[in-house]
Symmetry: C2
Subunit: 335 residues, 2 copies
DNA sequence: CTGAAAGCGCTTACAG
DNA sequence: CTGAAAGCGCTTACAG
């Protein structure tokens, strides 16, 4: 069975294709009687508009593309959900791409979104995509950067003060008596990791009796946390840290698993602190202290900044910086 | 700055638009020298193909659409990841839609995918979408159903034997001494819920001393599990169940939170068993016994069945049914 | 309010 | 191996 087209609908309704199009896109231009006949013909034939043709002629695609660092991380599903909710109100579909922290995948999704001429792109960048994003914007696509203030002067962005998050984490661990802190996460090139680490370092350096080291990982998943922790536990006892600061909660959960496996007590022997405050941090074997980011609100605000940028390409660039919040739980509470 | 088009590339390379198109789509038809000039022109101008035009003319969209019941559930992110991996090898982008168990959202994504004339659709259905899926297929779009054997005769499908899963769960709880079992999940119209419940009921009815009740929820998230459990704990002690079978792990985590909040001991006072075996089940406050589904493999197989269906629309319908596996943990181990 | 004509940017036969 | 012409299915001015 051939797929119905505008001309089939037009013939059935006894009008021209132009009128069918108007009934669909500008119903106020069409008389009520005609509208009803067109609608009936559409229902009869099961007509479904061909988006490629519409888009080609109309010259624009309402959809918005989004690229996240890890689609399996509840933090990013929350951000995406916030963005999707706001975009749905604007009648804009969200196309979600997962870079999995890999530059090649990031580039593939950027290709795809550009080829589709999406109206806008929301991106949590992995690689140095700024030059590319500039070209994207110059071709007329709005861009908003999530979770990064690099490129801050050129693109609107939504982020969290990650240095402050690192400071909060370190400050809390020190106040609980930690003296040897290991920061676990990576890759080190990722802006978020750098800032969380630097914030922690800055705070720890103010305490002469405390020290900090950085264990870099390839990824930010549970497996990475487990492996890093295993390597720490392979050391002689007196060279082990007394606190772990994982740069996200998935890594923290991995750390917790390795610690439990080796019967290291948390927090008595080693304290553990995560980042993002995903729902599972609170439900963990030992509930995990974590630095909360307002994930859904960040997604919503990113979508809003994108709306502003698409509606007025000349509009001033805007940066929304949220403040992180420390949520204290058992994994760092020694008394 | 205007966006570069084929004709601009052609002019710059000193060839015709047709040759540019051939260089892009059928490089074997073009001489090496011409290919190099075209490529140089493309790079120079930063040309990006307009997918809408390509698709309109070529008459097909390589992309595949997927609709899941809950994009925030790690089970579905795992399934999606499996599918995406296989589709990537076939050079097919995956467009992911989240129905959030809502029929209106499911319909919206089906609209979107149909308008985009995707090559295929992978769907875990919420509502009664079979009539619609029939029309979709009749228009030439391949369809594979995930996680449902309803409609089994018409569409290829990938599923797990959920009745068996329910039986495994009930059998284990009974063997651990449970006598009053509450099944928590919903909505009751969802095929997975029905089968898991029915499997459990069948097994429990074989034990005259045991009873089962069903607490239906609106959704399958943590909040639903928490609320249902609260209502159970509001009962007099002797009317409480001694075991909870949550129809997925998110619900189970919610149950666990409510139980902990009321200082009910797990498994001593009430046992808890979940479904899906998401990674977080093992890391929970009390590690949760769960029925495992091979999520990534299911996604991969769904993509493979879709490939078969797109390559030969006349190909026979195929059903892959995986067997569930019980993973026993602390939440049900009374000794 | 309605319709005839043109054209969005590409690719596909086809002729050379 | 290369190019001129046609056309994919829509929507947009424009004329009536």
């Amino acid at each position: 069975m051939a797929v119905a087209q505008v001309r089939d609908v037009a013939k059935k309704a006894g009008v021209s294709p132009a009128t069918v199009s108007n009934a669909l896109n500008h119903p106020e231009k069409v008389s009520a009687a005609t509208l009803a006949r067109v609608q009936a013909a559409i229902d009869d034939l099961g007509y479904i508009r061909n988006d490629a043709a519409r888009q080609l002629r109309a010259g624009s695609n309402p959809a918005v593309g989004m690229i996240v660092l890890d689609a399996a991380n509840p933090y990013f599903t929350d951000v995406a959900q916030g963005a999707e909710q706001h975009l749905a109100e604007l009648r804009r579909p969200l196309l979600l791409g997962n870079s999995a922290q890999r530059e090649d995948r990031e580039a593939t999704y950027l290709d795809l979104f550009e080829q589709q001429r999406v109206a806008g792109i929301l991106i949590a960048p992995v690689g140095n995509v700024l030059p590319r994003l500039r070209r994207v914007r110059d071709r007329g696509t709005a861009v908003v950067i999530i979770d990064r203030n690099a490129g801050a002067d050129e693109f609107s962005s939504v982020s969290v003060d990650d240095k402050q998050g690192g400071r909060l984490a370190a400050d809390h661990l020190l106040s609980q008596g930690a003296r040897r802190i290991a920061v676990i996460g990576g890759p080190g090139g990722l802006r978020q990791v750098q800032h969380r680490l630097r914030g922690a370092q800055q705070r720890i350096q103010q305490s002469p009796e405390a020290s900090v080291e950085f264990l870099e990982t390839d990824a930010m998943d549970t497996e990475s946390g487990r492996r890093s922790t295993e390597s720490l536990l392979a050391r002689p006892l007196h060279e082990r840290p007394d606190a772990l600061f994982a740069t996200n909660d998935l890594v923290a959960l991995g750390c917790l698993q390795a610690l439990a496996h080796h019967r290291v007590r948390v927090p008595e022997d080693i304290m553990l602190l995560g980042y993002d405050d995903i729902a599972f941090a609170a439900s963990a074997t030992i509930p995990i202290t974590s630095v909360r980011q307002p994930s859904a609100r960040m997604g919503l605000q990113a979508a809003e900044l994108l709306r502003l940028a698409t509606e007025d390409p000349q509009a001033a660039v805007q940066h929304t910086v949220f403040q992180p919040e420390l949520i204290v739980r058992e994994s760092t509470s020694r008394e």
